[in-house]
Amino acid sequence: MKRMKKNRRKRNEVLTAYGFLLPNLVGLTVFVFFPMIYAFYVSLHDWNALSPKVFIGFDNYVEMASDKRWWASVGRTFLFTLIYVPALYCLSLFFAVILNNLKQKYQSIARTMFLLPFAITSVISAVIWMFLYDPRNGVLNQLLSSLGFDKLEFLGSTNQALVSIVVVILWINIGYNMIIFMASIKEIPKDYYEAAKIDGASAWRAFRSITFPLLRGTSTFILIVTMIASFTVFDQIMVMTSGGPASSTEVSVLYIYKQAFEFLNMGYASALAVILFLIIFILSLAQLRLYTKKG
């Protein structure tokens, strides 16, 4: 008797679990897994979206190997990631620690202010920054020249455009990541800091030996998620420079978009997307290994 009851209960539990998982599972399958498999299928074809697909095996992948513009865009994506990810990590951690030491009242005001850019649609924030960056009438250049510096071209210069875009995306995302850091800093028991204080540790020492090591899990999460996001950066660049000037901000996703929707090379674009996915996948895996091993 008892056993049957237990069995039934277990069955009910399984059923409930599936019930709760169902909406997500369905959503993921229809909108993520199926398109992924379909993209791979398309990548084996020559397809311009208007006429039927022609199967060509791995020709698209072979073509990619010698596509200089593609590899240049991959290089640019890596460069973007190398600037953006460390900058975002350090800045959001820095502000999280600073804000954490503020009084509760100021803390919530500052937190809201930092989070505000995150609540703005990405396209709109890109447009706002285009006004700030305008070489002739933009606020930033007015500021620079009133301080006696030379005016900058920002988005109109091949050297400055990518960094200018990094700044905008940092401005959008720092607040959000800062809040994640703040939440896990609050999880750290106060006793540790008290003990450190008694031992005469400086604030920097306390950060290095207590806060930073105990944030490892959060750090891993933020670094991986940010890296993935920076490999798929698109909308702000599309709005602000659409890859220019002279291709200096043409990152991988933008090039994939151009191949797909401007040139209508759907098959080739899908092949590029598959490779980009593999790059991101391998990097994320490697990162995950690296961080968990250390722990």
Binding site: R11, V14, L15, Y18, G19, L22, L25, V26, T29, V30, N48, A49, L50, S51, M130, F131, Y133, D134, P135, R136, N137, E153, F154, L155, G156, S157, T158, T241, S242, G243, G244, P245, A246, S247, S248, K258, F261, E262, F263, L264, M266
Partner: protein
């Protein structure tokens, strides 16, 4: 057995979702005897009103065909997303609009129906030969041009007068004048900055005036490595390198508000700018218009852009769709005339329509287009998107990449030739 029940539930839900997802496909087609057609474009405001009025009128005057008009409201989304995605799913509209930058890919894919059998007698001859040539592939007329948008040099008269300058007539004068007029607040010459078909469109007059071309006459060879091309790239690049054309514009370049609002002294722009200039900015006799300056010994040339209306070759009702297109722009003069004069300002590609609107075409700045620019018009070429991109890259390289025209032309030449060879 334990798992089978949940799995069945999951499976059932999936089936349900797919059924819901797929059943929404409109059964469309005929209801009774009425043929239903879809017509998509990207227009807004007055232009949208014109087309929706046109469709209403057509629907009301006969009861065999019913057209459903819808607009996306944004030309880029329309060209790059809406239309390709619809065609990819075999749900393309029966009637749609296409631009010179996109025309070739739809033609190559066989998505455009041949309209030649549907012309009324004498109408084909009424069209400007060059306008029809621009939409003809293998003797098939694959779209109907209904507007020609020409380019000219708009300028602020007061600014030129105050600086004691003449309206530039040559490239050198254009550069020198632009330099004189450039200040911290005012750009000497506003030009487009971002890569795309529009950038090339504004540059083509410089290319043609200098005797250059992108492709050989038969379209099989790149002719981009000639000195004429390099020079046309050099002059364009010098506007940016010398700082008279801003590297970024706050107001999109296709908007006359750059000159109208006083942030630019000169701007190369199309016929479409005149109504806005008159309605929003005209302040006495403030603005002038001239043909685009030419190189020493060069010949006047301007680019004629404009959208074309096309019929989906895979439509079940090509004939009915073509009949509507011909009724709208290939029949009576009143509809094309209303479009080209009242709704916007463009040239109709039909002689009889221009004749009909003679009076209108001589009003104000329009007269400059009619008298001094119209005769030098060359339709915007229908290159594949990859060639458009290669030309755009050459322009970007001289504008921002610090390259000389010769270097940029050489790179683009190789790229274009390899695109042609792979076809």
């Amino acid at each position: 057995m334990k798992l089978s029940k949940p799995l069945i539930v999951v499976g059932f839900v999936f089936v349900l979702i797919f059924m819901v997802g797929c059943s929404s496909e409109s059964s469309g087609g005929e209801s009774g005897d009425v043929v239903k057609l879809t017509f998509w474009d990207f227009h807004t405001d007055a232009e949208e009103a014109f087309f929706s009025g046109l469709v209403d009128e057509y629907n009301a005057m006969q009861d065999k065909v019913e057209i459903e008009y819808s607009t996306i409201g944004n030309a880029t989304d329309y060209s790059n997303t809406k239309i390709p995605v619809a065609f990819a799913n075999n749900e393309g509209p029966d009637i749609f609009m296409t631009s010179p930058g996109d025309f070739q890919k739809y033609a190559d894919a066989g998505a455009l129906a041949d309209l030649s059998p549907y012309f009324k007698e004498g109408v084909k001859e009424d069209f400007l030969p060059s306008a029809l040539e621009a939409v003809t592939v293998d003797d098939k007329i694959l779209a109907l041009p209904f507007e020609l948008e020409l380019l000219g040099l708009y300028y602020n008269k007061t600014m030129l007068e105050e600086a004691n300058l003449e309206v530039p007539k040559t490239w050198d004068e254009l550069l020198a004048t632009a330099k004189e007029l450039t200040t911290d607040e005012v750009a000497g010459l506003a030009l487009p900055t971002d890569k795309g078909p529009y950038l090339n469109f504004i540059w083509y007059p410089f290319l043609w005036q200098n005797g250059g071309s992108v492709l050989s006459e038969d379209g099989t060879k790149s002719t981009f490595n000639t000195p004429e091309v390099a020079e046309a790239l050099d002059i364009w690049g010098s506007f940016f390198q010398e700082g008279v054309s801003p590297s970024k514009l706050q107001i999109p370049h296709d908007d006359i508000a750059n000159v109208g609002g006083g942030t630019a002294a000169m701007q190369i722009l199309g016929t479409w700018a005149i109504p806005k200039l008159e309605q929003e900015f005209e302040d006495g006799d403030e603005f002038g218009l001239a043909p685009i300056p030419i190189p020493e010994g060069g010949e006047h040339a301007t680019a004629a852009g404009g959208w074309k209306i096309a019929v989906n070759a895979n439509s079940e009702h090509v004939e009915q769709a073509a009949d509507f297109v011909m009724w709208a722009f290939g029949d009576d003069q009143s509809r094309p005339l209303e479009w080209a004069t009242e709704t916007k300002f463009a040239y109709a590609p039909r002689q009889s329509v221009i004749e009909e609107g003679k009076e209108f075409y001589s009003q104000g700045l329009r007269n400059v287009f009619t008298e001094e620019i119209y005769d030098s018009a060359i339709p915007e070429p229908k290159f594949s998107a990859e060639i458009v991109d290669a030309v755009g890259e050459a322009l970007q390289n001289v504008m921002f990449g610090g390259m000389s025209g010769k270097e940029a032309a050489e790179i683009a030449h190789e790229k274009i030739q390899s695109i042609l060879d792979s076809k």
